[in-house]
């Protein structure tokens, strides 16, 4: 993406920069929330879980703030073209990030419900692997948005298949543990719901990447017949 010229009206330029900064900041808060929630779950760290639940309020506030700024900019500036897309996608991205924050909160709440000192390592690994992958996706999606990189956005969308596959295999694995020993059922059920939450975080990461694609190109991302996302050719 060629860098844009500056606006004649410098306060407009500042507002756009500020909006991008807030999205960046909110992205950081959400990344921390997901990684803390996962750590709280795997280590059964109730303190960290409570802290993460508490921190979600700030994420919600941030979404409202971005919404208000975006609405006010639309009303006052009548944005066009890239500016319009930047503002509209900010609203969408903030909304997706807020949902991701909710997922982190859900996982933290489950962490509080699991008794014991820690999870058995065999339960631990699959979920940890999935959480790592999700965090990578989230980061890549936010990067694609910040740098307006359409090709990177397409990559993020396509990588979501991997997460879906991982979720399916994790589901089977946890089911096996439950069948092996009914005493595992409580822990494994909680873990199963948490992996579902993580999987949904992946879906929101895909959404953010789709917004990044639209922001840069002005088009909705294309879907090839094999369900793979493709860049729309001129």
């Amino acid at each position: 993406m060629a860098t844009l010229n500056e606006h004649i009206v410098s306060s407009y330029e500042e507002e756009l920069t500020n909006l991008a900064k807030l999205i960046f900041e909110m992205g950081g808060m959400v990344e921390v929330a997901v990684s803390s929630a996962t750590r709280a779950l795997l280590k059964l760290d109730h303190g960290l879980a409570r802290q993460t639940i508490e921190a979600d309020k700030a994420i919600d506030e941030m979404q409202k703030r971005i919404d208000e700024i975006a609405v006010s900019m639309i009303a006052r500036r009548q944005p066009m073209a890239t500016d319009l897309r930047a503002i509209i996608t900010s609203i969408h991205v903030a909304n997706d990030l807020e949902r991701v924050g909710d997922m982190a909160k859900t996982i933290s709440r489950r962490a509080l419900q699991i008794d014991g000192l820690s999870l058995a390592p065999k339960f631990y690994n699959g979920v940890k692997h999935m959480a790592d992958l999700i965090l990578r996706q989230l980061k890549a999606a936010l990067d694609a948005y910040a740098t307006r990189n359409a090709a990177a956005a397409v990559e993020v969308c396509n990588a979501d298949d991997e997460i879906d596959a991982l979720y399916t295999s994790l589901f089977r694995e946890l089911l096996t543990y439950m069948m092996e020993d009914p005493r595992n059922i409580t822990q494994c059920t909680h873990l199963l719901f948490c992996s579902k939450s993580l999987e949904r975080v992946g879906d929101h990461a895909t959404n953010i990447a789709e917004h990044a694609y639209y922001l840069e190109t002005g088009r909705q991302i294309g879907t090839a017949p094999d369900q793979h996302r493709v860049q729309v050719k001129e």
């Binding site: 606006h7 066009m80 500016d83 897309r85």
Partner: protein
């Protein structure tokens, strides 16, 4: 359709594959030695509103005025290339300019009613062009033109009062009524709302949308929001060149050209 373009398109949906009413081919305009327009190729679609946008001095008004040969009145102005109205080359020597301007009417930036009665303002054109056969005919044309221009209810009881006594917005609608009284095919509007308040502007914009049922409209405007609201096609001019033209929703959400983008987003180009 994306969210933004849908929002812009709600005002009026473009008639797809509308035939061309007017076509400009390699149009160049010179004022003396100075060239104001460079090889403009543009099709004006029938029953659509085409807006011409661009910074001051970009040639959009020059192009508009070349569509009904208003440039002929400017000393030292020369037009090359070809402009067709339907099949007729409007710069062909056999064309009667007065008749051309009856077919391609014009509304100016500043409302300019004749210093005559409201009735006479509208009746003048049809009378000199011999459109009305008798008084009843003329009355009917005046009434229907005023009605179409959305002015009838406001002036029906004072048709004999001077047109200059109306408000700015009413005067502009009177000028539109005057322009459509000769039953033109194309209506050219040169910044028709720039001297009007937002309410009068909204009334004119609503009118433009109704008028496109029967007329092909070309509008020059400095308000990009207005172009986005009223037109189906938009053409962007810069330094005498046509830079980009296309569907209005595309131009305002996703222009292809960098200069268009810089202009419509208010960046220094």
């Amino acid at each position: 359709m994306s969210l933004e373009s849908a929002a812009i398109a709600t005002a009026s949906v473009s008639r797809s594959n509308a035939p061309s009413k007017m076509t400009g081919e390699d149009v160049c305009v010179f004022y003396g030695a100075k060239q104001a327009l460079f090889d403009v190729n543009l099709k004006i679609e029938q029953f659509n509103v085409t807006s011409l946008i661009g910074p001051s001095g970009c040639g959009k008004s020059t192009f508009l005025r070349s569509l009904n040969r208003m440039n002929d009145t400017i000393e030292g102005c020369r037009v090359t290339g070809k402009i067709n109205l339907d099949e007729d080359d409007i710069y062909d020597p056999s064309i009667d300019v007065v008749e051309l301007r009856a077919r391609v009417g014009m509304v100016f930036q500043k409302p300019n009613p004749f210093p005559k009665s409201i009735y006479e303002n509208v009746a003048y054109g049809p009378r000199i062009h011999g459109i009305a056969r008798n008084k009843a005919d003329l009355d009917e044309i005046v009434h229907s033109s005023l009605r179409r221009a959305g002015l009838w209810n406001e002036v029906k009881d004072r048709l004999l009062e001077p047109g200059t006594g109306l408000s700015g917005g009413q005067q502009q609608r009177l000028c539109i009524a005057r322009a459509i009284a000769t039953k033109p095919e194309v209506l050219l509007m040169d910044e028709p709302c720039s001297a009007l308040d937002p309410i009068a502007t909204a009334v004119i914009e609503e009118l433009i949308d109704e008028l496109r049922e029967n007329f092909t409209i070309v509008i020059v405007t400095h308000s990009m929001q207005q172009a986005a609201r009223v037109s189906q096609k938009t053409a962007f001019f810069h330094l005498g060149k046509l830079i980009e033209e296309g569907k209005t929703e595309d131009i305002f959400t996703n222009p292809r050209n960098r200069q268009t983008q810089d202009y419509i987003t208010g960046r220094i180009g």
